[in-house]
């Protein structure tokens, strides 16, 4: 590092200029700090309870690079263990999902029950009296909490509760879960892909209304009209950028959301089914909330790496393997017990845009990989990324970049070891004692 961490982000709220040093996308030392200060100090999404419906149901996956088993125990509770034998460290679970009574390490055949306890080991009599099985249960992340089925873990024992952490973002999570009027579950069929790009580029991209008209012209200007959806009115009022008809909101703690209104395939293809759902939602939630769920789209970031997108009912999380490579996993959230026909239409709505074979995501993958290649030019003007759009406006819209600045402000505080309250909006810095 040639500069101090304080200089990585220039946040000039008086002049309305915001820029980020491109070293944050390339420097391995920054990634090391992120592992400790960002991914080590936040709540991270691990799984949804619907993925493990019965006692013994489990999924195993990496969260922030660490192998975890998320399993339903005999009492119906959710437990999370590190997937590493307490004997010599081997994985005790080699499948990504399934149902088990116990987890058997194939190396020396130590076995662990659904509570993580060391239930059996061959030749137990060969150990001294000081050897205590109770000390050798599978370890768990220091904190595990759920919010309405969403299971999060934190590696910071002292972190605030998950509900406190979600804070003002919670009402948007609720909108994301209530949209079917019944319980929401994760559908089978996950997307597992990657980008040769820094993970923070995907945070920005997931919240970027400005790029929709240019990067995604083939979707909004070609695909939707091709299947009979009239986008001309929305495109006329927005200069071709769907997100311009919407707003951006900083939700504090680095959480942030953009709200847009734009036609999407499901509205046309499942008119009758959606009308029925609207009636149910109106009864339960009233007109305003129902419209927010049925007519608006939200791209929501739960800091630092969980993205929920309501137009496509997407839950996406990702983690850096290196400064220049990110692994991405995404799932579809669906209402429980919907008809196969509606479920297929929801799936097709999602994958028409999002995912490695859709008409949106591949162009984002190409674009972000292009940014990463461009960073090799780091020099002069090429040394900074500009994120100033709309900073002078009292109420930034969804094609401005407040939502990215909100992420960056929290990121910048944590990178410097500042875990106090961060003013993430475009307002002036917090006055002393205001927190």
């Amino acid at each position: 590092m040639s500069r101090s961490h304080a200089d990585l982000v220039v946040d000039d709220r008086t002049r309305g200029l915001f820029r980020v040093d491109r070293q944050v996308f390339t420097d391995p030392e920054i990634l090391e700090r992120e592992r400790r200060e960002v991914f080590g100090r936040t709540w991270l999404y691990a799984a949804h309870e619907s993925e493990i419906p019965k006692p013994g149901s489990f999924v195993s996956r990496r969260v922030a690079g660490r192998p975890l088993i998320i399993v339903r125990d005999d009492g119906g509770g959710v437990r999370v263990f590190f997937n590493s034998c307490t004997h010599r460290g081997n994985l005790v679970c080699w499948e990504s999902a399934g149902q088990r009574r116990s987890f058997l390490c194939p190396y020396h055949a130590w076995s662990f029950n659904l509570k993580g306890e060391l239930a059996g080991l061959p030749g137990a009599e060969s150990y001294s009296p000081a050897f205590d099985r109770k000390d050798l249960a599978l370890a768990s992340p220091p904190r595990v909490e759920s919010y309405r089925g969403l299971v999060f873990v934190s590696f910071d024992r002292a972190i605030e509760s998950l509900v406190e952490y979600l804070g003002d973002a919670r009402e948007y999570v609720d909108l994301m879960l209530d949209f079917g009027g019944v319980e929401t579950e994760i559908a089978p069929g996950a997307q597992a892909y990657s980008m040769k790009a820094n993970w923070k580029l995907l945070v920005e991209n997931s919240l970027d209304g400005y790029h929709a008209a240019s990067t995604h012209h083939r979707y909004f200007g070609q695909f939707l009209p091709d299947i009979g959806i009239d986008t001309s009115a929305a495109r006329r009022t927005s200069g071709g950028a769907p997100a311009a008809i919407g707003r951006a909101t900083s939700l504090g703690k680095g959480h942030t959301v953009i709200e847009t209104r734009f036609p999407f395939p499901l509205q046309e293809r499942a008119k009758d089914e959606l009308a029925e759902i609207r009636r149910r939602l109106l009864d339960r939630f009233g007109a305003e909330r129902t419209s927010l769920m049925m007519d608006a789209n939200h791209n929501l970031l739960i800091f630092p790496n969980l993205i929920l997108i309501s137009m496509w009912r997407t839950l996406r999380t990702f983690y850096p393997v290196s400064p220049e490579f990110v692994e991405i996993n995404a799932w579809c959230m669906v209402p429980r017990n919907e008809s196969p026909k509606l479920r297929q239409l929801r799936f097709e709505n999602f994958i028409s845009f999002l995912g490695p074979a859709g008409f949106g995501t591949p162009d984002d993958v190409a674009g972000l990989e292009g940014c990463q290649r461009g960073f090799a030019a780091i020099n002069g003007h090429a040394g900074w990324s500009d994120i100033s759009r709309g900073m002078h406006r009292a109420e930034p819209d969804a094609s401005d970049e407040l939502q990215m600045r909100a992420f960056w402000r929290r990121w910048h505080a944590l990178i410097q070891g500042d875990r106090g309250v961060t003013e993430c909006s475009d307002r002036g810095p917090l006055e002393a004692g205001a927190a």
Partner: protein
């Protein structure tokens, strides 16, 4: 009705592979029946139907037609510049015959080169073919990938 022979299926699939590798996508699209569908299941649910699990691709004729037009247009950035592809199609078998239709399978390996990256897509085709006026046609064209994740591929932006 004469049966649809393995030889005829091979001729058809080899011709199709050449059209795709040469980006002759309009000619290729003419091989898809009007009620034809194009499917690529999720990597972790390879045998699921499109209403049972999220797919990678689940398209009817109109959506697939749009995919073709997008790929031949100027704003599909992921394929601009276009990938070079080379596909090997082998192990062709006719699984079932009935009337004008046959269910066939084949193995594929597609090499893709673009922006200094080399990606390999390996899997099997399971197609429902129907006899058309001048050639066989796809009623269902399904490509089932053997990959565990699209890493480091990142995307599937050409027709598999």
């Amino acid at each position: 009705m004469p049966e649809i022979t393995r030889h005829a299926v091979e001729e058809f699939l080899f011709h199709e592979a050449a059209l795709l590798d040469e980006w002759r996508l309009e000619e290729w699209f003419a091989l898809v029946a009007k009620d034809g569908r194009y499917l690529v299941p999720s990597l972790d649910a390879p045998d699921a139907e499109p209403w049972e699990a999220l797919s990678l691709i689940s398209e009817d004729h109109a959506q697939l037609g749009s995919r073709v037009r997008q790929l031949l247009g100027k704003s599909a950035w992921a394929e601009n510049p276009r990938s070079r592809t080379r596909r090997l199609v082998t192990n062709v078998r006719v699984l079932e015959q009935s009337g004008d239709e046959a269910r066939v399978t084949a193995n594929f390996a597609v090499w893709r080169f673009q922006m200094e990256a080399t990606d390999v897509y390996v899997g099997r085709y399971v197609h429902q073919l129907v006899r058309g006026p001048s050639s066989l046609l796809f009623r269902e064209r399904k490509a089932v990938l053997d990959l565990e994740a699209l890493r480091p591929h990142g995307k599937l932006s050409f027709i598999l």
